[in-house]
Symmetry: C2
Subunit: 340 residues, 2 copies
Amino acid sequence: MKVKEVTIYDIADRLNISSATVSRALKDDPVVSKKTKKKIFELAEKMGYRPNRFARDLRKGKTNTIGFMVPKLNSNFINSVLSGVESVTTEAGYDLIIAHSSESYAKEVANASSLFYKRVDGLIASLSFDTKDTAHFRPFIDKGVPVVFFDRVIVTGDSPTVIIDNYKSGYDATQHLVEQGCRRIAHVTSSLTRNVYSERYRGYRNALKDNKIGFNERLLIINDLSEEAAIGAAQQVAKMKPMPDGAFITNDFVAAIFMKTLKELGVAIPKDLAVVGFNNDIIGRLVDPELTTINYPGREIGEVAAKTLIDHLSGGSNVKKIQSIVLNSSLVIRKSSVKK
Amino acid sequence: MKVKEVTIYDIADRLNISSATVSRALKDDPVVSKKTKKKIFELAEKMGYRPNRFARDLRKGKTNTIGFMVPKLNSNFINSVLSGVESVTTEAGYDLIIAHSSESYAKEVANASSLFYKRVDGLIASLSFDTKDTAHFRPFIDKGVPVVFFDRVIVTGDSPTVIIDNYKSGYDATQHLVEQGCRRIAHVTSSLTRNVYSERYRGYRNALKDNKIGFNERLLIINDLSEEAAIGAAQQVAKMKPMPDGAFITNDFVAAIFMKTLKELGVAIPKDLAVVGFNNDIIGRLVDPELTTINYPGREIGEVAAKTLIDHLSGGSNVKKIQSIVLNSSLVIRKSSVKK
DNA sequence: CTGAAAGCGCTAACAT
DNA sequence: ATGTTAGCGCTTTCAG
């Protein structure tokens, strides 16, 4: 059943020329005459020739493959990033291998090793919740395989990061709540060892401070951003006396569930409690009231990360020279936070 | 900067044995003595050896790669499927190459060709809206590369399909609306050339018929399932006189936007109009009222599709013998449809 | 149990 | 403008 594959030798034989000429012609090398090129293309087409990538990769020592390492796949944000990455890499002729860690450090380390053995030409990565260090990226750096981090990053000095200004976004979100008259603002977020969350938290703290509002540790709720955690956070907030009058929540999914749970508990939003989310997922426009959020341009992040990597790969810029690329983010005000 | 890669020859040289023995040892071939194996493993580890996949692939003539062709990536359902596929293929040691067509037939054809040239060992695919035929899958079949379709499928006789019973699901959804007292039931769906939509439509029609409700062509709204289309459908429905009292909508995202738009137009849901969606996306539980829907087990579909493919690849079952695998789906009743 | 050697298909010197 | 040839790293007969 298995049909024999056509090789450049088969083409060469039939045309009584050398395989080298065929190889050159197929790459459209200008050194080959138009006439022979034409003959070769036609015959290749006719014989159903398809180039053998392994032979080529083996010869050239590169895979034309880029690794995409993320904590999860079932997130709107990650999927936007992926679509941005995909469009750029495809355009540039690279394949993508996707690996996700389910937010586990151990799995992330395993994935790194797997991609390393698969010899990806470059890596685009965002870290898991509990990733402690970047030792597992060392092999890539040591072998000269460029790595670009996005979103959840660690600045290593070897790999650029593509991010937004999480500090400013956190500050803006909090400031907005203050301007709406909120004085007891809860912050629902996740592990503060991750830059994205710690920066947003720092923005929250500083906005409070600049408005002379004391920080209340009980209003800081740290969890794993799961559905259960979101429900728990809402229940916790509803029980507080006095109840908070605002909440800055580090992602839209959690914010949506948080709002829903509070509504079920009889809390009016935004009247009793104003809510600001993060990410600008589509979900924020489907819930009632519509969710104020921070627009986080996933697709652009993906495009920039991929472009940076490919630039480096094609000998353009050097990835080591870039520490970070910061994209614009902005507050999107909707009904969930407007008290006035 | 580029560090030379360690090969089996380097290991062989250092140990004064042949590369063949090293190769065998590395594969844990029982024919190699425990002692030499141990030495080899240790040295390989120490020298930082990593096998060269292209050399191996070149030699063996297979890529250990599976193609995943879908119409889009930004869909909850597709992502569930992907996560199911990913877990199975990773487990079995296959890489995944992902290609999406943005619902374009032309792009789908191009993707098929690209994956064909990349010599994937197998293919898992779901068709675009306007895909007319499966000629672009012919090359795979002809070369003996197995293809498994899921969700949006065409029965070819060569490739199995993994699906749910869309007819029954459509019937159940409609029947449920009838039982809630609906008599003028709109159906919002997409291109009836795709099996999923035509089958659901058939279920809708037959449920109406079995309940002696006449079919009204004006209540059938066909669009591209975009946000704009969903808004348009809602506006269209709101203007009808008499207004429909129920709607069966072919996906949850569209249903959510449809409901939201109607609510803004002053229509009470479910009282004035009951809604049933399709897919059981998380979004359905976040909107108000919560959305009645058909549970469509994406992850299981992905797992089954991948297992079927890999089974075939490892010489287990023969993919040609299976025409289709139908997984269970079921009606999930929530507030958006309950009038009583 | 181990070794020698051919060859997978392609590319890139180095000729001519 | 084209041909010759070596070799990328591995697996797999075939021999011992």
